[in-house]
Symmetry: none
Subunit: 416 residues, 2 copies
């Protein structure tokens, strides 16, 4: 392929504009095209309206080489994708015998009655090539116009996917003579903010074009997506690895993994490698930390269990937190977090004990402001560690951040 | 409102075009605007590229009255939404002191280091009005241009939603003097399958056009969305209530609530009304049930806490489950579930004890197949109830269904 293919995806359907469904088709197609080195520059959703469809298709034809259209090919009169596209191309719509035969065969297979309407779905734009539909009734089709390729697909996700996977992508690759690949890797960082990361990598992010380097923030951590283009997978990967080395020289200490890794999975992996067991004493997090441990297969060899000591009463009865600590320092204190971590590891006979106590809100508690959270960690016979944090956000976000931070502390501890 | 407001939604972000995330923002905003009688005619996704953004905004300004833009307002240099829109409007970008103050306050609250980059997020288009951001760092803003209204929002869904719900929608309704209304109500059912519900309401679902009646299935329950149009809220509401009455005549016994109700919130409400406390002994669910209790404000007066007895060892040490039961019947048994429910309520001194034990998979356990789950409930001095279920799905789905079913059992028990 001499140059980057410019692609776009147009979804047709009023149900998308009413918010009844989400445009997951565009996401899936975009991922697949990126892996084939096709750049997707626009997603558009238009309703079932002839003039708006025509206006959109005109513009798409002006700016893109590859136009993938999903939806609006159904049997009813408000399915206008064919008509609008044919008008824009100045082509006719014809009845395709092969398409009709496959539709009739579909109804025969399913012992269903075919309505006259369904014949409409055998209509394609003249000069088009059929794309077989393995899982549904109506086939898709492609139309070549000048240097451009139009691809028409049903809106039903599983039919759209099957058609592209069976025939569609091969047709696209052949038509555009695609022999280039895009490789992508997500580097995952925790303990550094998005702007700090951007600040430390400013020159790379601005200077780099292959691979491109794009920061992506999510609650409590930051991702950095490296995307490299080349004519071979090996070259693309080595481009990514060069950039990765330079990035890690600067902020490697915050990098915990790549791609599908999560801070939770990395902690589970380290616990498994070191053959350590863990238990949790949770107040503010209410069992959420233990839940994330148990969500992993084979958690039983690592997670002994936990105690949700949400009431002071249960802190005493289940965790033997001394009345002195609760009275003198309060339940939201370094002393209480320390005692919770130590006692839960003893109660559950685990190598590690972790504790969470704090104020999730909406109201302050024990004179401490909303978002104040103490996290304690006790490992074997070592001196327990307790850290205090102030998280922002609503009740759920504060509890979410608390759990995430617990994993960050565990990761840094286990890694060293 | 004299005529229909023409709206469109533009999402800015290369991560959308790479298929890394789906444009759920457009779906949610579209639903909310539909409920306010605003027509959404286009969804567009554009990358972080100045000239493409300018071209898109030019076109949006030509065809729409209301232009809602999500994303591209972040601290980094590839966030270009402000610049592109300002160029299209022929306006300047200014530093807003109020915005800067709120950003600085955010960093102060979180004890985080503010980098020069973050100041960029205090920049808005001249003449714009701030939209307060309750849950995040940077505010959104609106700009009036002639008869058009531009709304600029962060791409992070929870921030985008909070800003629109707090300030944004009010601003839009006032600006366009919206009085034509679409009212919508979700009826929520549990204990009845989607196909059974559709069968029982077939004639209504097919016959009704105002309100429309749309079933919506989600894990473990079914929703039914009634949507009515009218020129007054009262008329629309009464249309909905007529339909609701007919529906409840048929399947009312499965209906637990409406709209924002969840089976969890209904159970919390019943516990609060009856002044009952609860505690949980969780094995398969690993703390997830207790976590959902604690997610509610004021949970401390209802939830005493819980014990995650994930290992047999902890079932003995923390819950005093007799060796006899574990040896004779096993941990995944009616006897164990019963003992867990009774003992946790005694250990935590709560009126109600609930227990979950089962096989989440991927492998069978104690000769029981994946998806087998026992749920026990003990209320005061009554005979404990234990039910056995067989859930389909992966590990996470089985654990999710278990928690949901626990709430369903509690709801039916507390209701009667």
């Amino acid at each position: 392929m001499t140059q980057l293919v410019k692609g776009e995806i147009v979804a047709v359907g009023t149900e998308l504009l009413l918010g009844q469904i989400v445009n997951s088709n565009a996401q899936w197609i975009s991922q697949e095209l990126a892996n084939r080195g096709v750049g997707v520059f626009y997603h558009t959703v238009v309703g079932d309206n002839l003039s708006r469809l025509e206006a959109q298709f005109k513009e798409s034809a002006e700016r893109s080489d590859l136009i993938i259209i999903t939806g609006g090919l159904g049997p009813t009169d408000d399915d206008l994708t064919r008509e609008a596209a044919a008008n824009v191309m100045g082509k006719d719509i014809i009845q395709d015998d092969e398409a009709l035969a496959s539709i009739e065969a579909y109804y025969a297979r399913n012992n269903q009655q075919m309505t006259p309407n369904n014949k409409r779905q055998a209509r394609i734009i003249e000069g088009g090539d059929l794309l077989h539909n393995r899982v549904g009734m109506a086939p898709g089709f492609v139309v070549q116009q000048g240097q451009k390729l139009w691809v028409f697909l049903p809106g039903v996700p599983r039919e759209m996917k099957a058609i592209l996977e069976d025939d569609g992508f091969k047709y696209i690759e052949k038509y555009f003579n695609i022999n280039q690949t895009i490789q992508s890797r997500m580097l995952r960082f925790i303990g550094i903010g998005e702007s700090q990361l951007e600040h430390d990598l400013k020159d790379l992010i601005e200077g780099q074009s292959n691979p491109t380097i794009a920061p992506l923030a999510s609650a409590g951590e930051v991702g950095l997506r490296l995307t490299a283009r080349s004519d071979s997978e090996e070259k693309a990967v080595s481009l990514i690895e060069e950039a990765e080395q330079e990035i890690k020289k600067r902020i490697g200490k915050y990098c915990y993994g790549t791609d599908q890794d999560t801070i939770q999975s990395k902690v589970m992996q380290l616990l498994r490698e070191k053959e350590l067991t863990i238990s949790a004493a949770e107040s503010i997090t209410g069992g959420r930390f233990t839940d994330t441990l148990v969500s992993f297969e084979g958690a039983s060899s690592i997670c002994k269990g936990g105690i949700v000591s949400y009431s002071n009463e249960s802190k005493k009865s289940l965790l033997d937190i001394p009345e002195l600590i609760l009275g003198e320092y309060g339940a939201i204190s370094e002393a209480c977090a320390m005692s919770m971590a130590v006692n839960v590891s003893e109660k559950l006979n685990s190598d590690i004990g972790i504790s969470f106590t704090g104020v999730a809100g909406p109201d302050p508690s024990e004179g401490q402001e909303v978002g104040t959270v103490y996290i304690g960690i006790y490992v074997d016979e070592n001196q327990p560690i307790v850290k205090c944090f102030h998280f922002n956000g609503d009740r759920d976000m504060i509890r979410h951040r608390s759990v995430k931070k617990g994993y960050e502390l565990l990761y840094n501890l286990l890694k060293s």
